[in-house]
Structures are given as C-alpha cells and as structure tokens.
Symmetry: C2
DNA sequence: TCAGTTCTGGACTGTCAAGTCCAGAATCCT
DNA sequence: AGGATTCTGGACTTGACAGTCCAGAACTGA
C-alpha cells in the first residue's frame, strides 16, 4: 500500500536512475548519485526497492524500454520519403550527440547485457518488438508495390536493426557513418 | 631495463588481463583476480604497470586489437564461395558461444568505449583497418566482375561491419539471427 | 664470488559504494 | 482528534578493491 506521494517519490527515483543508466550503464551506476540528484535518502531507496540496486536497475530498464518503444512507434515508415527522412534524422541525431550515445537502445543494450539475465530478456523483448514494427512497415510497402513481391521482409527488418545498432557502436568509436544507412536503401 | 623473466611475467599478466577484459569489460575487471589467476602479486603489477589498472587495461586492449586484426587478416573474402563459408562459420561460431560474446570486437567495443578516450581511439583504429580489409576484398571482387562495376565498395564494407557488430549485440539479447547476414548477400 | 639490479610476495591503508537500522515527520483513516 | 501506517533522513556497518610499501629472493655482469 503506497500513497500518491510515495508513488511520486518512487517515480522520481526511477526517472533519475534511467538517466544515469543510459549514460553510464549498470557498471558505472551508483545509487548515492541518484539519491543525491533526487534529494532522497538511503531509507527511501530501500523502502521502495527492498532489493536495492538490482531492483532499481530492473525498474529503470523496464521504464526505458517502454519509453523507447513508445517513441519509435510514433513514426510510420511505410514509404520511401518517410524512410529518407528517418535516415536523415537519425544520422543528424547521431552527429549531434556525437560521442555520447546516439542510439539509446544500443547504449542500454551494450551495458545492460553483461549483467542480470532478467534485464537481458527485457532488452531482447524490446528488440523483437522493434523488429516487428519495422517488418510491419515493410510489409505494408510491399503490399503497396513499393517493394518487390518476393522481398524477404523479416530479413530486411533484421538487417535494418542490425545496421542501426552496429552503426551506433562503431560511431561511438569513430566519426560519422552516413553511408551505413545509405547502403541499406538498395535492399 | 627488464630481464627475459620479467618480460615473461609481464606478458602473462597482460594475457590474463585480456581474457578478463573480453569477458567482463573494464567495469567488471578486477586486478586481484588477474593477479590470482597468474599467481602473481600486487608488487609485480605495479612493478610492470606503475599506473596500475589503467595502464594494464590499455596494454591489454592494445594486445587484443592486434590479435584480432591478425586473425581476421588471415581470411581472404574475394569470391562468393569464400563469403558463404565465412558467413556460415561466423553464424556457427555465434551459435556455439551462444550468449557469451560471439564477436570479441563487439564485446571489447561495447565495454571499453565508456571509459578512457585513449582506448577508444585504439578500437576506432581497429574498426577502420577492418573496414579497409573488407573494402579491399570487395574491390578485388569488383575487378573480377563478381560485383557490379558501380558497386559502392566502401559503403558495402561499412554495412557488413555494422551488421556484424549489430548482429552480435542483438544476438546477445536474443537467439540466432542467420537472416541478418543472408540479407547482406543481396547488396 | 659478490655488489648491484630486478623480481616477487603479501601485509597494510584508504576510499568508495551498497546495504542496515531506526527515530521522527508526514499522511491517512475513522 | 489520534492511532496506525507510510515516508524520510542520515548515521553506521560491511565489503570490495585500488594502490602503497618494504623486505627478501632471484638474477645479472664483472
């Protein structure tokens, strides 16, 4: 049984945890920092998350996955113009945030995957759903005759996703990689 | 001035460090463990690496990058049969090592990138060289007429690399993803 | 051989972060 | 109002791990 105030506090903590998690991953994630930025205390942390750090991380990951899927669902990539726009936007976003975690899913994935298997399945689920979305869009394009009738929609979706993730990783080490995504268009 | 014995000890430490680093990344990397598995002591670590952990990590990363580039250079992917074989081998390798770090570069990258910018540039260099190798192979294929004359070799190389990296990340969360690489072949 | 150098072991210190505990404030319910 | 419940703050304990220090063993070269 928790009051409205309690819920709010809990939410504040989770929110701050997501931020820290996206930036530094589980490894560089420290509870005190979250507590400090939210101006809460140890007591509260363990009040809302009896299992401490682990439980908080799980909650934060879940929250983040939900958030990401919600935003990615907002775009409909069912025609070439939309794709072009999306590619441009993505590349631009990557350029802006330059070194720092252009793709948040990739960021999460790379960092979370080393730890709890529980979190791992959350991330897996996110990928599957995302791939499903893309495949759905491509399916529609095929129905509209924008794609060859024998186009392997699922494979293409996987490829898009992989390029996106891989590109994010490589970007992080190198510089800009527009060509990565341009190469996709020939599929 | 170091003796042969000293060199050997140093090498042993670096070698063990690479193993730990590949498995757990800088974050989960702990010096005592390396010392224990190599049956060496604090004294030796700081004898050979006056700057401690950081210096050891740098040395280990460098070592690993060298190793990886050396092995990847051994394969010549300049015809479709070779590609097919390579894809099969890669997928099989991923399946075997299943959850555990199929692609070691990806593993390194994901984990090392969060830390020292010095290490980052090492990884970047590894990527660039690798991409260069692939592009070279493709170039040869184009010259042999196996690829269309107007094929954007560099873009393709980047794509292959990105798919490989992204696939590794996604694999780690999910299951097998053969189609990823198969989709590549249509380029 | 033996003085000088390099190598090795391990006890010790300092720091940082996770988790515990409990007293007191705020809030809820009747 | 007032007892029960929930929320909050922060001191304290514990543990892990990086890094220090130095004594003594092993090796080198003359």
């Amino acid at each position: 049984m928790t009051t409205a105030k309690g819920m709010a506090t809990r939410a504040r903590i989770v929110e701050a945890a997501v931020d820290r998690l996206v930036v530094g991953g589980v490894a560089n994630f420290n509870v005190d920092e979250v507590l400090h930025t939210t101006r809460t205390s140890k007591g509260q942390l363990f009040h809302y998350f009896p299992n401490g750090k682990d439980e908080l991380c799980a909650a934060a990951t879940e929250r983040q996955v939900d958030r990401l899927l919600a935003t990615s669902r907002s775009e409909r990539l069912d025609n070439w113009q939309a794709w072009d726009r999306w590619v441009d936007a993505t590349v631009r976003r990557h350029e802006q945030q330059s070194r720092d975690d252009a793709c948040q899913v990739a960021a999460m994935a790379g960092r979370v995957l080393d730890t709890e298997p529980g979190l791992r399945s959350l991330v897996a689920q996110a990928y599957e759903r995302w791939a499903g979305q893309i495949a759905g869009d491509l399916e529609r394009m095929r129905a509209d005759g924008l794609l060859r009738a024998d186009a392997p929609v699922d494979d293409l979706a996987s490829t898009v996703l992989a390029v996106l993730q891989g590109g994010a990783v490589i970007d992080k080490a190198t510089g800009s990689h527009d060509h990565l995504r341009r190469a996709l268009h020939q599929a």
